[in-house]
């Protein structure tokens, strides 16, 4: 009797609790573990459903065009369903891809949600590919790759393909970026740097800036003399983006300041082939000490550590921020387009990269000259794709068909660009403005930017594969202050501006492509996750500390508690395979 009563009590209480959780769900929060993933999945699903609905609708109207969906774990802008170039591609190549981008969640959350839900888009590009492989979500591509020997041989070398091979011997994804065709036409510094607005350099008479001290000294002097912009907006010396995975803008400058390339999670000491931890290195301490000093002097944006990516981009777009550390691809495409639209580029708000180091006269390796093959991510076809054959063919077409490539990156001939008598592509100012305009982009431009693409010279041997790499285009696209700056330093491209040493990176480069794939299965993976959490909290604290040494000491205690040695040991094991 008593037992029955207790059981009844327990059951009814459990029912009550779950009902409450259900009721409160909308306003409060989904509670127990089992409902939390379910709820988020629902959101993702409804997104997919919407995409699927669109797909079904569109395919009815176009007949035999293959409709695919794609999810990319990066924020991006969706293009309109009736996008003109997407339609041209569909007409000629028979494929239309509905891209959806990351919103709100982090990349790993989005991937985890897809796996928990078990339904996938046709194509996927995620930062967490190994999780998808673990979940049996991806189609092995080996056979398809062998079907297109031309593509296979041109896209990667056999060694590079091998890097993509997973422990089970299959290749599941193809990195679409960073391949150069023919002669390199690299004009942008598509990497990390200390960036500075050209108006500051112009004001100072284009000095040579080599160290952090000189950099901040210049910013301070500029602010002292020019507290506001022409329109009265207050200038801000330096801001730091610190949201989620983008906190590299705060976190990893130490490795570059010490003169090492972007291995991302560790430093590789080539002389004795050992892994070193840059988090605790002298250069990193100096870097944070300098940031701390500037913060306490009031030259670092007080909102640095609480701003979101959107707020950060909005801030940069006002042109009031003089400098920051960031990757080119993380800000330049958006911000430069805005500058062009608002005319701020004519006021010298464009950013140029500086290759700073701890001491003067050191070699810097901010710029990566080789093609960086990040084998940790790329485009993949999922098991939910009904026609992987056609899907893969489109991947190949994107890489191998120059006409398609031109359509994606240059646009429509005589509309988005013109061809001169020598066969060189060029654009008028109006065409350039259009190309940078967001509503025009949504209605007309379709880059399928996570499908394979080339840098360097086009198959016609004359033009660049991408407009920003076309020398004439690159020069014409530059506003006067930027051009003046380039002239003053006697350079023609961004990589020359940063002046990194030219050398070939080791076959292990970049090491971050390995650590990105760590899971909590191993002690090193757990350490890596905990180190990330710890740094997220402590690095901002260290910068804001009233007493730097004390703050750094506390940080180190917390950092050591994460057992970084486990992580470093596993990275060393990986490096040892290249000995």
């Amino acid at each position: 009797m008593k037992l029955k009563k207790i059981t009844a009590l327990l059951l009814s209480s459990a029912l009550m609790v779950s009902m409450l959780a259900g009721c409160g769900g909308a306003a409060e929060a989904p509670a127990p573990a089992d409902t939390a993933p379910a709820d988020t999945t629902e959101a993702a699903d409804s997104g997919d459903d919407a995409a699927a609905a669109d797909t079904a609708e569109a395919s009815e109207s176009t007949g035999d065009v293959k409709e695919f969906t794609m999810f990319i774990t990066m924020p991006g802008s969706e293009i309109n369903d009736d996008n003109e170039i997407a339609q041209m591609i569909a007409d000629k190549w028979g494929v239309k891809v509905k891209e959806t981008w990351l919103t709100g969640q982090t990349a790993s959350e989005a991937t985890g949600t897809l796996i928990a839900g078990g339904e996938y888009p046709d194509f996927i590009d995620s930062d967490e590919m190994n999780l998808l492989v673990d979940a049996d979500a991806l189609v092995p591509l080996d056979d398809y790759i062998d079907k297109y020997p031309e593509f296979r041989d041109e896209w990667f070398t056999p060694e590079e393909w091998d890097k993509f091979r997973q422990p089970d011997g299959h290749i599941y994804w193809i990195n679409p970026f960073g391949n150069t065709m023919g002669e390199t036409k690299q004009t942008t510094h598509n990497d990390e740097a200390f960036w500075i607005q050209v108006r500051v350099l112009e004001w100072a008479g284009y000095p040579k800036i080599e160290t952090m001290d000189q950099y901040f000294d210049l910013l301070e002097r500029y602010i002292a003399e020019n507290p506001t912009m022409e329109d009265g907006t207050e200038n801000m010396a330096y801001t730091i983006l610190c949201e989620d995975w983008r906190y590299f803008c705060l976190e990893n400058a130490g490795q570059f300041l010490a003169g090492y390339p972007n291995d991302g999670s560790v430093i590789v000491n080539k002389s004795n082939m050992t892994i070193e931890d840059y988090n605790t290195s002298e250069d990193t301490i100096q870097y944070f000490k300098k940031l701390n000093e500037e913060y306490n002097k009031g030259f670092v944006d007080p909102e640095s550590f609480t701003q979101t990516y959107d707020e950060y981009i909005a801030k940069l777009s006002t042109g009031r921020v003089l400098g920051m550390v960031d990757q080119w691809w993380d800000f330049a495409y958006t911000v430069n387009d805005v500058f062009k639209q608002t005319g701020l580029d004519l006021k010298g708000c464009n950013y140029v990269p500086l290759g700073l180091t701890t001491k003067e006269g050191m070699e810097n390796r901010w710029h990566t000259y080789d093609d960086t093959v990040n084998q940790a991510s790329g485009i993949a076809i999922t098991t939910d794709c009904e026609d992987p054959e056609a899907a893969f063919k489109f991947i190949v077409d994107c890489a191998m068909d120059q006409e398609l490539h031109d359509l994606r990156w240059w646009g429509v001939k005589d509309v988005d660009y013109n061809v001169d008598d020598n066969g060189l592509y060029y654009r008028t100012d109006e065409q350039r403005q259009n190309w940078a305009d967001t509503s025009y982009q949504a209605a007309h431009r379709c880059q399928y930017s996570y499908f394979p693409q080339w840098h360097g010279t086009s198959r016609d041997g004359k033009n660049a594969n991408k407009p920003e790499e076309q020398p004439s285009e690159f020069m014409n696209d530059m506003a006067k202050p930027l051009k003046d700056c380039f002239d003053a330093y006697g350079i023609t491209t961004y990589p020359q501006m940063i002046g990194s040493v030219q050398e070939t990176n080791g076959p292990w480069f970049p090491m971050y492509s390995y650590s990105n794939n760590f899971t909590t299965e191993t002690p090193g993976g757990v350490a890596w996750a905990k180190m990330g959490e710890c740094k997220h909290e402590w690095l901002p604290k260290v910068v804001m500390a009233k007493d730097f040494d004390k703050g750094w000491g506390e940080y180190m205690d917390a950092y050591e508690a994460c057992k970084p040695e486990d992580f470093l040991a596993e990275m060393q094991e990986i490096l040892d395979t290249f000995k």
């Binding site: 409450l20 306003a27 409060e28 127990p32 709100g104 790993s108 979940a135 909590t520 901002p540």
Partner: protein, 313 residues
């Protein structure tokens, strides 16, 4: 005592005839039972994950059992201990502040005599309930930023010299969350109290007036005792909800600097379960939360049973 006994002996025996007679009720309740099993109890089988090293590829049946390993990891993790503390602290602060605000608001609104003022205020006050958290946190983020309205007002009135970045200091975080909850839910929660007050017999107030009671006395001796049953039932129901201290608010307002006070169990589950793909660990954390919630509600119910008539079960 005797009456109770007779009631017990009058229990209707379960016979085919009786079941036929009550067939409609049987069908209705059967549907509810099926619904409950499918949506409340069946998902609980997923709790097995907490005792496994779950891999999506192998599924629930194929994954390896690891016993209490995941729980051991949880309780050896300093972060999780902090997470429990945060969840409890924010849950209690939220519960206390939203309840007090709702009762106060309902009483004050009840004292407003003119309907044409009362009705619009009531409607406006519960509108924020229908805003999504992303909107509310957006508003908070802007108004509490160093250049936002709050800092602006404080500086103009001379309370502070320098703008405070409210989101950069752990000490403010819990109170910001409590404020957000109050702002959003006060009006909506007050509806139920307001209804309870309306249900109080007006003759009590009339009698009190004749006896010479003033407004405060009427509130003290009639309104408050009148809403006590409602208050207790709601409190009981919410005690089980204390660990649902929130997910969206903390997730959207949090950042690296305040993560040691902002993370709740739900965020922890998301971080380890979904982001790090350790579903087992996430489930273990969620299971722990559910068990504690059940204990809490049983405990609160027991207390209520002992000290007053109100109880849930």
């Amino acid at each position: 005592m005797a009456r109770v006994k007779t009631e017990k002996t009058r229990k209707i025996p379960i016979t085919m005839k009786e079941m036929k007679k009550q067939s409609f009720l049987m069908i209705v309740s059967f549907c509810m039972v099926v619904y409950g099993i499918i949506f409340y109890y069946w998902p609980l089988t997923g709790w097995i994950m907490a005792f496994q090293n779950y891999k999506p590829k192998k599924g629930l049946l194929g994954s390896k059992f690891v016993g209490l390993d995941k729980f051991r990891f949880l309780f050896e993790d300093d972060v999780f201990i902090k997470v429990i503390r945060n969840t409890f602290a924010m849950g209690v602060i939220n519960l206390v502040s939203t309840t007090i605000m709702a009762v106060l608001f309902a009483i004050i609104l009840n004292e407003v005599r003119r309907t044409w003022i009362k009705k619009p205020i009531q409607t406006i006050s519960y509108l924020p309930h229908f805003l999504s958290w992303i909107v509310v946190t957006g508003i908070l983020h802007v108004s509490l930023s160093p250049t936002g309205i709050v800092n602006d007002v404080l500086m103009r009135m001379g309370f502070i010299k320098q703008a405070i970045n409210f989101f950069a200091h752990p000490k403010y975080f819990w109170w910001i969350v409590a404020f957000a909850n109050c702002w959003k839910e006060t009006g909506f929660n007050a509806i139920i109290y307001f209804a309870a007050i309306t249900g109080i017999d007006p003759s009590l107030y009339e009698a009190a007036s004749i006896d010479g009671a003033d407004r405060l006395q009427k509130i003290r001796y009639i309104t408050l005792p009148g809403i006590k049953p409602t208050f207790l039932i709601l409190l009981l129901m919410n005690v089980g909800n204390v660990l649902n201290a929130g997910f969206e608010v903390q997730y959207l307002l949090g950042n690296g600097l305040v993560q040691s006070v902002s993370q709740t169990i739900d965020i922890y589950v998301l971080k380890w379960g979904i982001s790090q793909n350790d579903y087992s660990l996430g489930t273990a954390a969620g299971l722990f939360k559910s068990v504690v919630s059940i204990l809490l509600i049983v405990l609160a119910n027991g207390l209520a049973k002992r000290y007053s008539e109100e109880r849930l079960f």
